[in-house]
Amino acid sequence: MLSVMILLPLAAAALVLALGDAARSRAVAFGTTLVLLAMGILLWLRFDPSTAAFQFTERAELFGGLFSWHLGVDGISLVLILLSVFLMPLCILAGWESVKTRVSGYLAAFLVMESLMIGVFASLDIVLFYIFFEAGLIPMYLIIGIWGGARRIYASYKFFLYTLAGSVLMLLALIWMVREAGTTDIPALMAHDFPVRAQTWLWLAFFASFAVKMPMWPVHTWLPDAHVEAPTAGSMILAGVLLKMGGYGFVRFSLPMFPHASVELMWLVFGLSMVAVVYTSLVALAQADMKKLIAYSSVAHMAFVTGGLFAFNPQGIEGAMVVMLSHGLVSAALFFCVGVVYDRMHTREIARYGGVTDVMPRYAVFFMLFTMASIALPGTSGFVGEFLSLLGMYNASSLLGVVMTTGIILGAGYMLWLYGRVAFGTVTSDEVRAMPDLKPREWAVMLPLAAAVLAIGVWPGPVMAPLKAPVASLAARLAQAEAPQQAVLRPAALQGVAP
């Protein structure tokens, strides 16, 4: 099943390239993503949430015993695969009309991306994971470089080289781990106890990669550029899924494989998360470009993920996972909202808008909903995640909790201000007055996103159920590492955090 989910989009990409015709390519690509969505839902229905073990595992020795084609999902990867297959048809719809040149290449790049994203989350072999993880750079580079905005060349290089530079150190650490543990199997590596001293170095090498991918302050600077220049659907998939690979990396690798180093270096993550939340929120306040503002808000939201994960308690980790899921939906939706008005006005400058509520009332409702979800208003998915992760962070350190909470307040500040400037006020420009309201295709993107955001907000049970068991076993493994060090390290860690 998982192999099919990885190979099917690749086959569809080849078909789309061979067809070369825009209309038929769109139909094939959209159909494929819908089939994958159906397969993802089937996976979800057949998933057994009571166990932390990997399910739907497949294994084939295709690579001469050096590593293997080993796939499987637990609750954590299941949720992220669901997010990917859910967003992908919407991304295809989002670029349905706005992308006019080289359509089949564009769609093929997205289909390849989908295959690689599923591969990243489903790999149970560390070398295979690395291949999928890095391979995603090439289609994304092309998406930004070919179909992006004015400074797309700069942005695409920056995106590529930044993330590549982060990842190569992880490659070296990974090689050492495989030599040390004698296996490339992720489940076996997760249970392996690496020497405590080596853990710190390995942790730092993995951190270099995931922190860039996430992105964490101060290595986040590629993100605003990449978002601003990427086409709408590219931003949606970048914010929606690619950033989650960093968080997934922490949950799958850093925490379970290097628990001692995670405990020891928790102050570093906490410190960076606190800076990120305050600093990038302030930066977001000062943005004149809508996409840039949302990009900075992404960095701030990702700080909730890192903070929650390194709280080491089930609430924090579960909360971080839900923040990832919710941010995946909400930021994709917000980027789509920007794309909708950009398609009409061809500008992302906030000051050029104003009074959109008057001319596009239906659009304004959706935009409002996603703005509220980004602020984490109760009843939206954002609330569930951020509340849980803040709860976890308070348990770990009240200072952290207090600082991170300011992120919610600042977040409300920049998001409401953005909404106010774009949607409210009187219509001053004729361009704004001429904008038509949502088209059926745009409804088709907005509605599922809004439904998902609200559904998770009021009834998070179905998506949180699969998370319980793997998070509990992860928290237990971390508690084991924490226990002997608690007396010595905990206070020191908190001192290190103090400003």
């Binding site: 001469g64 999928f132 890095e134 090439i138 070919i146 797309r152 695409s156 190569v168 150190l169 030599r179």
Partner: protein, 486 residues
Amino acid sequence: MTVALDLARSLSVGAPEVVLAAGACLLLLLGAFRGDRAADGLSWAALLVLALAAVPLIDQPAGTTLAWGGLYVADSFSRYLKLLLYAGSAAAILVAGPTLRRAGIWRFEYPVLILLATLGMGLMVSAHNLLTLYVGLELMSLSSYVLAAFDRDNPRSAEAGLKYFALGALASGLLLYGVSLVYGFVGSTDFVAIARELSLGATRNFGALVGLVFILAGLAFKVSAVPFHMWTPDVYEGAPTPVVAFFATASKVASMGLLVRVTIEAFGGLKPDWQQIIVFMAIASMLLGAVGAIAQTNLKRLLGYSAIANIGFALIGLAAGTADGVAAVLLYMAVYLVMTLGAFLCLLALTDGEGRLHDQLADVAGLARMRPWLAAALATFMLSLAGLPPLFGFMPKLAVFNAAIEANLWGLAILGVLASVIAAYYYLRVVKLMYVDGPADFVPMPHDQGANPLLMVAAATISSPLGYALLGPLSAAGAAAAAALF
């Protein structure tokens, strides 16, 4: 009687070289009678000779066999490299016809010179004595000098040949000087005897070490490792493209094989000493190759710098000095041969209406819209040379870094991965030119390419993620070949 027996045995052990030598002489005679009209026929005959030479290789018994009084060795290491070499040489003959004919220099000497160079390469990787090493190296080099100047009416080609010859002769001189020093201090030129003497740990090892430094300098020239790389971009730019494809593939594989055999088999006892040299050459080559390529505007020069950088990566495996490291070098050279050959095949397809080759970087601008399949192939080779997953070029890089970490060479590994990030920039630039930029003035027109499209598809398939299917057999063969040296 024993002499005759020994001769018969040596002839059978060295059968690949015997076939090549006889074949080359025969073809030379035929060519002298028939003239350039026979170039096509001789090319096919040369391919046949290569195939015939490969037959005894495939049948070669397991284990290490010495012949010609210990001058020559046949083991799985030499077999692995020779099979690669013959494939590279066959490709060099196959690709040349259409291009050289259009340029009006399709002469019968071409296949003969390639065969002679291949014979020299075979001797190099089978060398068990410093003298065989030198003879093989010179045979390859002299043929190469002529090949570099093959387009003799073109000043650039003549310049390339002359430059290659002058610097190459200097390198040979250094190497020969090193050989004489080693002979003077150790008292033998036989690899096993040298290794035995060095293992005694006498003080005269220092003299041998000085000799080794000179030998390494000479060999570094052949593999174009920094600081003996200067000729590479110039020769790549000036020499006819099919010839450069030959230099970049078969020549590099043979020289690398020789370098590995000499350092491990003969001078294994001095490993801590030569390891420093190899580490330096690896780091310098990777960094200089990566940085130097950024400013290039000519694709062949760019590939020249790419060769320098890639040799740097391959040297990481040798620096480790372990069986895993040597196996990594062998895997690296095999995949490198395919990727580079593919890249040159793409270059050969960049012809204009009159069939002239265009090899400027700007000429590939917008290629994706004019020749999508050609652009896809070139992008595959570029990204694969950069070692980016999921392309197959990632695997050999992974293998050499694995060897470096096994040997605890962390500094080398870290600088290596950073150099690969820098190098990714210029490989990406080619992809960007083809896919992002608009078309240049130059519109490539397809011309008769002979067997090139088929070869290109094969090379692109191996360089693409589909190549992982070969990983098992390739790494098993590489591991067996590496084991022969330890």
